[in-house]
Symmetry: C2
Subunit: 271 residues, 2 copies
Amino acid sequence: MVSSYIVPPNIDLKNLSSEVKGVNQIGEEVTANVTLEKPLTVFLNSAEIVTSMTIGDYPELLALGFLFNQRIIKEKREVKSVDFDEELNVVVVRTVDETPYEINSKKKIRTSGCALGTVFGNLMDEIDEIKLSPREIKVSILYDLARKINTTPSLYLETGAIHGTVLCDYSGPLVYMEDVGRHNAVDKISGWMLNNDVVGEDKILYTTGRLTSEMVIKAAIMGIPILLSRSGFTAWGVEIAKSVGLTMVGRLRGERFLCLTGSKNLIFDEK
Amino acid sequence: MVSSYIVPPNIDLKNLSSEVKGVNQIGEEVTANVTLEKPLTVFLNSAEIVTSMTIGDYPELLALGFLFNQRIIKEKREVKSVDFDEELNVVVVRTVDETPYEINSKKKIRTSGCALGTVFGNLMDEIDEIKLSPREIKVSILYDLARKINTTPSLYLETGAIHGTVLCDYSGPLVYMEDVGRHNAVDKISGWMLNNDVVGEDKILYTTGRLTSEMVIKAAIMGIPILLSRSGFTAWGVEIAKSVGLTMVGRLRGERFLCLTGSKNLIFDEK
């Protein structure tokens, strides 16, 4: 068994899935475990920020990581408290001072219908200033991480219909989060890093999802210089990865992959 | 070749993907086609509704289908014009009369930061009133549709990192849309149906994505009684599908599947 995990996948089938009766291809009655999915609303002080669909584990980390990855919160010390109300499915993150986001959104409230649209615009400006320090990595370590992750018991293996994101270092996977939304899984990792004062510069991020612009932006904001995925790339994801200096390896399956940015950081120690 | 398509996949690699140089697992230089992904902002009259990341084909259908699937527009005759500005990446949908959405959002502008959150809340009320008329379907037709779809040349086969949604009838696939966001692919189908006065009651919808609550809600609003996917289910998706009377078949791969709602409508003509 894989032993390097600080936070292994949360395979709490009782709370994160439900049993549903159905039939299979020959009409036999079967019972399937299906992933739960419920709305979680994040408040920043008194401002409602976003409602996401989530499996519902680690709501505090999800809220914290979302706000960090949107650059609404930049440091742990800005946060006064994080409270989850299970009945209302609401997380309230309170900060020591009013945030620029709240001040801006008061100004912008008549022009923008959607907070996320506004925030996304601001993010692109911030991304322009990120330059990740390059880290080399052996191809054998890529394979080792992928193999360890793929053989770890997870909700994905139990229920399907879920995305995983795994924070790793060079010795193995450390924190494995899963969610119905792939952005939630990476935001939970980010919340965990913020909470535990863990920096990204010597880490590797693995995602089961596609390497889209949003995934690349999140990795860059988390300060992680190497991003891996079993899935493919989008053009804008590649462009942003190039501009921030992210090494990005996709279509990593078995001992095959495609590296579209930062290939100079790969050490080909395997054939 | 498959001949039933009215709108086959748009494999316009020149406009929907870009060529990126990279390296493979043994360090060889390779060129990969990666999917484009760009922001598209939808305006309803003078109200900014949402910004989505999309591959960028059929922007007018995407805008129209999004507004229809959110129940902001309910009939084609409400629409006066749909204009796409390629330079700004903006679609403006103009209606004959002011919509309830615009009237409500004026009232709600101080309480809700995110239009989508609000709209989503309203959608759940509408969903409660939908009851789809059941349609029977032979298992052999499920296999036939899946086989035809999977062997159709598509962007997915060329670039990966993309989701597909296919409108079918009992004879075969009709309209095949793809997008980086799986919701966009289904919204483009919806826009096409609205534009061409096509009803959902005798159709089947196939998606490569997971059967989440949002996907089920969209199928129900489009009036389509049968939803198929190669991927898995979420619990809330199953619950909504049951309540609206949707027949839902997931994990449809080869000659295997799982039917979690509406199995009484399946005719097991294959073993």
